[in-house]
């Protein structure tokens, strides 16, 4: 059964058609990347799938359930969590507090307003597990604003992961990272549970080829090519539009 089915969605801002009749069908455990030059419509696509902007046409289904037009929090509750290209974190809280909040959002205690939260050890335990998984254990009690940029990117992914999603959308997780930080991220992303579906927007080809097995190439809101990394790399239109003629591991 398809876990995420995006059918025929389009979006225009004024006269500009940012996404033109886009289709995507992901099954549980897929590792899919959407790549394309700046302005190709990748972030708009993500914002539509995660509920931040409604599509003009088309439908979005999560596990057969139509979630088109649902607000972001409802989409997350339906099992699809996302990270942001630009760090969107709780700067004044610690890593522990941040992750706990994300875990708590999916626990029945979230409306409890009269018992100390520290009594719910389950929240803390789960937050700690995520921190370990995202290699943030050493900075668990530190304030988010004191983290290195790479650690903040790891927390971005961690906060989405803490929602226990079936489908994880990562918006350029490696944006602005150093090569070493990027290597860490790739390592962390390859350890995600096998049944978790991953949809990735990314500029960095090392990350894309290191993590994903399926790639869709977007240009001016249209799908230019789609397939395995090998197929996409071999596609002449892609080489022209995106990877550059000399492409092997080309930079965007």
């Amino acid at each position: 059964m398809s876990q995420l089915r995006v059918s025929n969605i389009s979006k225009s801002f004024g006269a500009l058609r940012v996404i033109d009749t886009f289709d995507l069908n992901l099954s549980a455990g897929d590792r899919h990347a959407v790549i394309g030059p700046n302005g190709a419509g990748k972030t708009t696509l993500f914002n539509m799938i995660s509920g931040w902007i409604p599509p003009d046409t088309g439908t979005i289904e999560i596990e057969g359930l139509d979630v088109t037009g649902h607000p972001p929090e409802k989409i997350t509750q339906s099992g699809l969590a996302r990270s942001f290209q630009k760090n969107t974190l709780f700067d004044g809280l610690t890593v522990a507090e941040s992750l706990r909040l994300a875990v708590q959002a999916h626990s029945p205690v979230r409306f409890n307003f009269f018992q100390p939260a520290r009594r719910f050890g389950g929240l803390q335990q789960r937050a700690h597990e995520i921190a370990r998984q995202m290699e943030l254990e050493d900075v668990f009690e530190n304030e988010v604003r004191t983290l290195s940029y790479g650690q903040k990117r790891q927390l971005e992914v961690g906060l989405a992961l803490a929602c226990e999603p079936k489908i994880l959308l990562l918006d350029e997780p490696a944006a602005g990272t150093s090569p070493a930080e990027r290597a860490t991220l790739v390592r962390l992303l390859t350890t995600l549970p096998d049944n978790m579906t991953l949809l990735l927007v990314e500029h960095d080809m090392d990350v894309v080829f290191g993590v994903c097995t399926q790639i869709t190439v977007l240009n001016y809101g249209r799908v230019v090519a789609s397939g395995t990394p090998e197929e996409v790399r071999a596609d002449p239109e892609v080489r022209a539009a995106y990877l550059g003629e000399s492409a092997g591991h080309g930079e965007a």
Partner: protein, 350 residues
């Protein structure tokens, strides 16, 4: 699949074995600090009225009453990150509910105090539902508009004496304890009891999962939505709880002064409540009480010297904001840290 995770949750959340998880050191340290500061504060608040003159007992009562209002404002400003310019209206609603019920309808004061709390909660919940969908300046203006609306109603209302307000409002009857609340010291201890209960409830709220959500909304509302929270009901409830403290403060205020007039609910009053929060320290649980104390005492001291006390109050405010990060509470915390470090160093030297 969904149901199994829910069950797992219930299991991991409810079992006794998961309680007091040793990893949550920040919360435990915070709780210890809270208990120590509360104990010290309570001793001061119990002993102070026994050693100062009648006049200062009255000022202390005012400090506690404003402390209630301002702690409520801080649930919004400090914890949730919402700036309301209409909170004096809820103090007014509490005040007028008690005044009307006791002096016009002859209900007992204790019953009207409960009504004041309920009325401010319900009205604020309604106002909250309508206002918390907006943000920033819009939120500030919509709360200002609501506040002024209630102020206008109080000014125009003939039954409550319009601009002149109402006088001869009774204080609570404490005869069953063999006490007379008309004595200022007795009334002070009654206000203190209300204050302690209200602050204990507020404390439960801010350290609860709900309270943590409010802090998350302050830090980054967008991310809260992304991780799956519907922010709106949390903000509306925070608004109502915050106003309820104002309602209780209002009910005590009319008993304290035996009168009420619409001046209590002007937007200037709401603004001064915000000043008290910031002077006292919005990130600290007891910061607002310090702010209220600073406000009442300097206002009293300055108004003895000059008519233009607000000018000096403004200057003091600027100084506090510019030099004391985190207000008076932040300053006290820094001082305590330095002293601890200093004494640790001395011990190390010996």
């Amino acid at each position: 699949m969904q149901e199994t995770t829910e069950e797992n949750w219930a299991a991991s959340v409810d079992t006794d074995s998961s309680r007091h998880d040793p990893l949550d050191r920040t919360a435990l340290r915070d709780q210890r600090n809270f208990l120590v500061i509360s104990a010290i504060g309570l001793v001061v608040l119990v002993v102070a009225p026994l050693v100062v003159s009648d006049f200062y007992v009255s000022l202390l009562t005012e400090i506690l009453i404003f402390g209630l209002l301002v702690s409520g404002v801080n649930l919004l400003l400090g914890y949730t990150g919402l700036v309301s310019l209409g909170h004096a209206a809820f103090m007014g609603i509490g005040a007028y509910t008690t005044a009307i019920g006791t002096s016009l309808l002859d209900f007992p004061v204790w019953a009207m105090m409960i009504c004041s709390v309920l009325a401010s909660f319900l009205i604020a919940y309604g106002v909250g539902i309508l206002s918390v969908r907006t943000k920033g300046v819009q939120f500030l203006l919509i709360t200002l508009a609501f506040g002024e609306m209630f102020h206008a109603i109080a000014e125009k209302s003939r039954v409550t004496g319009g601009d002149d307000g109402m006088t001869n409002i009774p204080r609570i009857d404490l005869e069953f304890l063999g006490l007379d609340a008309d004595h200022d010291r007795v009334f002070y201890f009654f206000v203190l009891a209300c204050f302690v209960i209200a602050m204990a409830v507020l404390r439960r709220v801010v350290v609860s999962p709900f309270g943590r959500v409010l802090v998350g909304i302050r830090e980054n509302e967008k991310r809260m939505l992304a991780v799956g929270y519907t922010a709106f009901p949390y903000k509306a409830l925070a608004f109502a709880i915050s106003a309820t403290l104002g309602g209780l403060a209002g009910s005590l205020w009319v008993q304290h002064g035996f009168f009420v007039n619409p001046h209590l609910m002007t937007w200037q009053m709401s603004g001064e409540a915000l000043l008290m929060v910031i002077i006292g320290g919005s990130q600290a649980f007891f910061g607002p009480l310090l702010g209220a104390a600073f406000y009442v005492l300097t206002k009293d001291f300055l108004s003895d010297l000059t008519e233009a006390y607000l000018l000096f109050f403004g200057l003091l405010f600027v100084l506090v904001v510019a030099f004391f990060h985190g207000g008076l509470a932040g300053f006290a915390a820094t001082l305590a840290r330095r002293m601890r470090r200093g004494s640790a160093k001395q011990e190390g030297d010996q």
